[in-house]
């Protein structure tokens, strides 16, 4: 899966490249508007990660250019501009999703996967992880071919873990993924533990292996090995 990352901040760019490559993507980079414009005209991407504030132009114009070309690429806007109007403008112009800086890399991963899944397979795709099969479109989870009944939050949690196999997910990232942006550091994250405990129990009852690892004081990880 090929991704174009448009980001002018070098330090953030390099970290994002690293994280995306770890996630199994092929990443190309544009540091400014001109480079980005050239690349989207020349190449095809599965998804474009678009920073709105570029030194030589507005990211929204790149979005317009992509849409004008009927590009099949998904667009995920990443911006420090938390203005809701920016978000609305971005989504109105046809962006698939919007992330406000700073964001969790694991959240970026999950959103990216969701976009690509929708775009490439029109939703007709399934995720396979060891003895687990998940059909996101139907919100169906199968363990060894057997349906697993999960609550909404447990399902969201499982999907989030599956979007980031092998990655350490911090408590903050999980909490914000489950409760939206509305949860913050002052809240207790006990509920994550409760949901995780229930999820593990249900998986074990169906005979799935325990591949959700707890990293004390840090978070959780879907262990690939």
């Amino acid at each position: 899966m090929k991704i174009l990352l448009v980001e002018d901040e070098p330090a953030l760019r390099s970290t994002l490249i690293e994280a995306l490559r770890q996630g199994g993507y092929v990443v190309e980079v544009a540091a400014d508007f001109a480079q980005a414009h050239e690349k989207i005209k020349l190449y095809r991407y599965d998804c474009v990660l678009l920073d709105l504030t570029l030194p030589d132009g507005n990211g929204l114009d790149l979005l317009r250019a992509l849409k004008a070309d009927n590009s099949p690429a998904g667009v995920l806007v990443i911006s420090a501009r938390n203005g809701v109007d920016d978000r609305v403008a971005g989504l109105d112009l046809g962006a698939d999703d919007y992330l406000v800086k700073p964001f969790h890399l694991s959240e970026l991963n999950a959103r990216l996967r969701a976009i690509i899944r929708r775009r490439r397979f029109q939703g007709h795709s399934h995720l396979v992880f060891r003895d687990l099969v998940v059909w996101p479109e139907q919100a169906e989870v199968l363990v060894h071919g057997e349906a697993l009944t999960l609550t909404r939050k447990e399902y969201d949690l499982l999907l989030y873990l599956l979007a980031n196999p092998g990655r350490v997910l911090t408590k903050e990232a999980i909490a914000e993924h489950l409760c939206g942006d509305s949860v913050d550091a002052a809240d207790s994250f006990d509920f994550i533990y409760t949901h995780l405990k229930n999820l593990r129990k249900k998986l074990q009852e169906k005979g799935a292996e325990n591949y959700i690892r707890t990293l004390y004081g840090v978070g959780y990880k879907l262990s690939a090995e």
Partner: protein, 427 residues
């Protein structure tokens, strides 16, 4: 006390003093004038009598003995005062008398006494005091009326200035608009005030810009920090290290906190900036249900029961972001300051949105809860911006915001009234 009342009081005091002095002077001068005139008349009368005697005619026989009499026995000469009884009035009337000696040819000399009545003291006093009092009353009444008229007329610009000042709101970023007046003092006052408000607005403006810029500029380094910390956490050498991993996780959490703080400050300054002009009809009940659903895990974790009473209310023209923030902060505040196993009652009607929850008694002025960085518990990890944001959003839309505490059951209630604000305001 009103300036005019104070001025009037001095006027009255001064008038009273003037009245006493004026009456005295008037009395003395009238008395002197009467005495002088009477003395002159007596002298003229004497000259007449002396001329008559000198021409050889006899002294006239006295008709009114109290006015003219003579005797051959010697009397003290010159002017003197005496009191005579006025039989008709039955009162003692002061008289001036002049006694002189007349030498008659061929007869023994005679001592003639002439008398004329002076004005009675009490009558004179009454006349003087009466007229003075009349003048005084007219003067004072005139002054009071004039002042009342002036206070309406001349002080009008001052009252206007006062009204403008009272209604002044720095949040609107407008300097005072005070009209020119012809009266120098007021014009000067208005000038000073206008200048003052300009500076205030400029200072406020620069502070606001500073906050907005600081909040915005901090997001990029924060984004770098957060991303790199998250990448660090992926390193097996770090996650397997029992000391390094929690340190990094704490750092990560702190970074997150910092960026939330900046986002909240940015939001506040954007509200102040009026950057949320765009509004669209929004179903608050729907939004509340959505948010409640989103926060369900937090509610569960604290064992809180949320009761929604959402009456059908007309869609309100709100900016979706602000509406979201308003609802979010209200709910979050109720969750955070709740007691374990407590409840949250949320009521939406066409007129207001009310949220109440039990919680520990909060000491201090309720109005201060809405200040920035105001925390119930200083050690709390929350920056204490939630209610400040709620207040700013309410102010932005002209909603009333009222906090009340009910000791029975220790319930805190926040009510957002959609109509114009009424009493017990948070601001």
């Amino acid at each position: 006390m009103k300036l005019l009342a104070v001025t009037n009081r001095y006027y009255v005091l001064l008038s009273a003093a003037l009245f006493v002095v004026g009456s005295l002077v008037l009395y003395l001068s009238v008395d002197y004038a009467v005495r002088n005139e009477v003395g002159e008349q007596l002298q003229n009368h004497r000259l007449e009598l002396e001329a008559r005697v000198a021409s050889g005619r006899p002294l006239p026989e006295p008709v009114y003995r109290d006015q003219y009499s003579f005797s051959t026995r010697p009397r003290p000469l010159g002017f003197s005062d005496t009191l005579l009884l006025d039989p008709t009035e039955g009162s003692m009337v002061p008289h001036q008398e002049l006694t002189f000696r007349v030498v008659r040819a061929g007869q023994r000399p005679a001592w003639v006494t002439l008398r004329k009545s002076l004005v009675e003291v009490d009558e004179l006093l009454m006349a003087v005091a009466g007229s003075m009092l009349l003048v005084l009353v007219l003067l004072l009444g005139g002054i009071l009326l004039l002042h009342r008229y002036l206070s309406r007329r001349l002080w009008a610009p001052f009252q206007h200035t006062l009204a403008v000042l009272r209604g002044y709101d720095l949040q609107q970023h407008q300097p005072l608009a005070l009209p020119d007046t012809k009266i120098e003092e007021f014009a000067e006052l208005n000038q000073v005030l206008t200048h003052f408000s300009r500076r205030l607005v400029a200072d406020y403006e620069s502070l606001r810009e500073f906050t907005a810029n600081a909040a915005h500029e901090a997001q990029t380094p924060l984004a770098i920090m957060q991303a790199q910390l998250e990448q660090l956490l992926q390193l097996p050498t770090v996650t397997d290290d029992a000391t390094a991993a929690p340190l990094l996780a704490d750092l990560y959490a702190a970074t997150r906190r910092l960026s939330r703080l900046h986002q909240a400050l940015g939001l506040l300054s954007r509200i102040d900036n009026g950057q949320y002009a765009a509004a669209q009809p929004l179903d608050l009940a729907e939004l509340l249900r959505e948010k409640a659903e989103q926060l369900a895990p937090l509610l569960e974790a604290r064992d809180l029961a949320l009761a929604l009473h959402l009456a059908a209310s007309p869609p309100r023209a709100l900016h979706p972001g602000l509406a979201d923030s308003l609802v979010h902060n209200l709910l979050h505040n109720a969750i955070r300051h709740n007691v374990p196993g407590g409840d949250i009652a949320l009521q939406l009607t066409a007129k207001y949105l009310e949220i109440s929850n039990p919680g520990p008694v909060v000491v201090g002025d309720p109005a201060r809860f809405f200040e920035r960085f105001r925390k119930h518990n200083a050690a709390s990890e929350s920056p204490g911006l939630g209610l400040s944001i709620v207040q700013h959003i309410c102010a932005y839309y002209g909603f009333g915001l009222r906090y009340s505490f009910e000791p029975a059951g220790a319930r805190h209630t926040l009510r957002v009234s959609f109509g114009p604000a009424t009493g017990g305001e948070a601001r």
